[in-house]
């Protein structure tokens, strides 16, 4: 066997161009384009720089969380406490504000809270080996509960103007800071997931964490980092949302977690772990934003929009499965 260089294994057989055309992402692009076109016909107000700019505020904060959540879900875990982290981070920022914290300190507190909460989740899941779904249902109540204890029926307000800029400011013309931050983060997460060793290990863990561990991957450490990252992104979202609302109440960002997860799943990330891409998540965020804003322009109530997003979620997931079942049945 020493000289068996007889067979040469090619890198790949399929044509990368062809497979990328048939990918999930292109399906999403098509969906996004269709919705965009429908929107521009349905409402005369849609194709307007200001409208489109306002549109982005509907999803940037959730989408920022979705980026980190995507990695976490790819690794086979989940974090339902993200919205509660926002509440706690926002509350602590408001608390610090009462003691005269300036803008940099506020941001540091917001992001710091995110890291601490993420690390707490990460410790419970990886250190004590508990299922992440239950742990984060628990910490979701705990984190938001602490906000309620601190804030009760009060609210914090009076954030400085320089702080408000994070949620209301424009970098250039109608391009908001939130949007720019989201795009920058999307690129960073793309690189992290698709271009680094770390990202590769995340996929390996999500596919089979036992085999990954048997392959010398430090599974617990990687998952811990992912929880921290999700915490950080929630902290950042807390800064943006607090700045945008200009006030803090303990009920801030209620329901964000399910919307972020919907974006992730719609973006083609397998809820069972191991598969998914950042591009998909970004597209899904865009689609959710387009749908809600487009229907909003038609004055369709938000609750009715959820029928669309919910159906979209199920249909988009079911279609490939139905297609596969149909194809498998045919030759038999």
């Amino acid at each position: 066997m020493t000289d068996t260089t007889t067979r040469h294994l090619p890198n790949r057989l399929d044509n990368p161009l062809r497979s990328s055309i048939l990918s999930w992402e292109s399906l999403l692009i098509a969906v996004a384009v269709v919705i965009f076109i429908i929107n521009s016909f349905a409402s005369p107000y849609f194709l307007n720089a200001y409208s489109l700019s306002d549109l982005t505020f509907n999803f940037t904060e959730k989408a920022l969380i979705a980026l980190a959540m995507a990695l976490l879900i790819i690794s086979g875990e989940i974090d339902l406490s993200v919205a509660a982290i926002i509440a706690l981070a926002s509350t602590l920022m408001g608390f610090a504000l009462q003691f005269g914290a300036d803008t940099p300190a506020l941001v540091a507190i917001g992001i710091g809270t995110g890291i601490v909460c993420g690390a707490f989740n990460g410790f419970l899941v990886t250190g004590l080996k508990l299922p992440s779904i239950v742990v984060t249902i628990g910490t979701m109540s705990l984190f938001r509960g602490i906000s309620f204890i601190i804030l009760g029926d009060q609210s914090y307000k009076g954030y400085p103007a320089s702080f408000a800029w994070f949620g209301q400011g424009y970098v250039y013309w109608v391009i908001s800071f939130e949007l720019v931050l989201f795009l920058v983060m999307a690129v960073l997460y793309y690189v992290l997931l698709h271009r680094t060793n770390f990202g590769r290990r995340v996929y390996a863990i999500g596919n089979n964490d036992i085999a990954a561990q048997f392959s010398g991957v430090r599974v617990a450490r990687t998952k811990f980092i992912l929880f921290c990252l999700t915490g950080v992104m929630s902290g950042i979202a807390a800064v943006l949302l607090t700045a945008r609302l200009g006030s803090t109440r303990p009920s801030i960002a209620e329901g964000f977690e399910l919307e972020a997860i919907t974006m992730v799943v719609l973006g083609g990330v397998s809820i069972l772990g191991g598969a998914g891409s950042i591009l998909g998540v970004v597209l899904a965020a865009l689609i959710v934003g387009l749908v809600t804003f487009g229907l909003g322009l038609l004055n369709v109530p938000g609750i009715v929009m959820t029928i669309f997003t919910g159906s979209l979620l199920i249909i988009v997931i079911a279609l490939p499965i139905l297609f596969r079942q149909w194809r498998n049945r045919r030759p038999a």
Partner: protein
Amino acid sequence: MTPPVLTLSGITKTFPGVRALHNVALELFAGQVTALIGENGAGKSTLVKVMTGIYQPDAGEITVAGKPVTLPTAHAAFEAGVTAIHQETVLFDELTVAENIYLGHAPRNRFGMIDWRKMRSEAKETLDSMAAGIDPDIKLKELGIAKKHLVAVARALSIDAQIVIMDEPTAALSQKEIEELYVLIELLKADGKAILFISHKFDEIYRIADRFTVFRDGEQVGTGFIKDTTQSQIVQMMVGRSVDHIFPARNAVIGETVFEAKGLSHPTEFDDISFSVRKGEILGFYGLVGAGRSEVMQAVFGMTTPSSGSMTLNGQSIAPKSAADAVEAGIVYVPEERGKQGVITGQPIFQNVSLPSLKKTSSNGFLRAAQEFDLARTYTERLDLRASSLSQNVSTLSGGNQQKVVIAKWLATNPKLIILDEPTKGIDIGSKAAVHGFMGELVEQGLSVIMVTSELPEVLGMADRIVVMREGRIIATLDNKGLKPETLVRLAAGIAEEEAA
């Protein structure tokens, strides 16, 4: 003579990439034990699953008592009078023993509700009749592996079936329990049941079987009466060639000690394990399934932490806390459960191979695809991996080729010690030879190899020294020179001891 109770004909079953069964036939007779014999992966268990409604055959016919039947579900098989003790324990840890025995056919009261009292008393009766000494009310997870197997046997017996299949029922049992099982089988025979008995142990087969059928590579290659056939004739059918040629000649130079373990212990799994491996040596670990060898190896590999004991590698003391530590130190492990622990089936070959070596193929933590492909190609080609491209998904490879991917992955890390846990389990004969050949090559290059195996020929054919384990302890460490197979079997099963006692 009486017609067969069950007839299989023309049964074919293919899995993606593997033809597990091809046009096989089988007949079972009332009051007789038919032994099904064949190497690992010959298709025996697959046939059992076809007969019990778990797999649907691609082609072929099943007749029970002269009537053709289809078995779309496990329940249908049970209704047709077929029951089986499966090779892997298919039981429920969190349920009680009684329920494990009666799940799916529990006795009901007149309201159609499960009658627990009756179930418990019947379970107790069955277990007592087997002299199993198991309390039907405790949860299954409280039992050891051997007792679990007895529960599986009890489950099969609780179904009043005409056809009883036993897929390696004795693999995890002690000699005493095996003897009790024989008694049971005699009772069943006397009851007029048709029994299919699968085993790799010839002594058992000759002791209890009336007829035999031999499978090789998914085909039926012979059938007949045990009393008319000699052991070597059967082996000839099983292997299709002379057994001696399988193992490569060893011409590695054995050097100084590379790895040494002293007094490794674990609260429940192993105790006082000491052994050493030298450069260029293959150290065999032999024992019955469940002897605790995998657990020892996983402790060496950092997956579990021993409660006491020490390890040294190249004279330096090591204490790996994780597999990553062990790999960094130069110890790698090819696990026993390939699909679960070895390969990441959802990912392409090259990513599987490069996973532990990502540091080498990347720059500053960023992936470099070209380097990854080069690395993967170098090692998979050395192992003669059969695949269409390096981006092929590992799940589409055959078992043997998956094993090669695992080995390639580890070779790429330039290890000092490689541990192979059941390296040829479930691998076809051709690949088996390749893996054996490759092990020879590894030691020639100066690596040290630990090979865990439950197969006698393999350990006798490959190892330089053999460590025998039983019930979590090392029983003996032997030089593999003129060793008789019986010696190993006795040591592993503890028979010598029992006779002395």
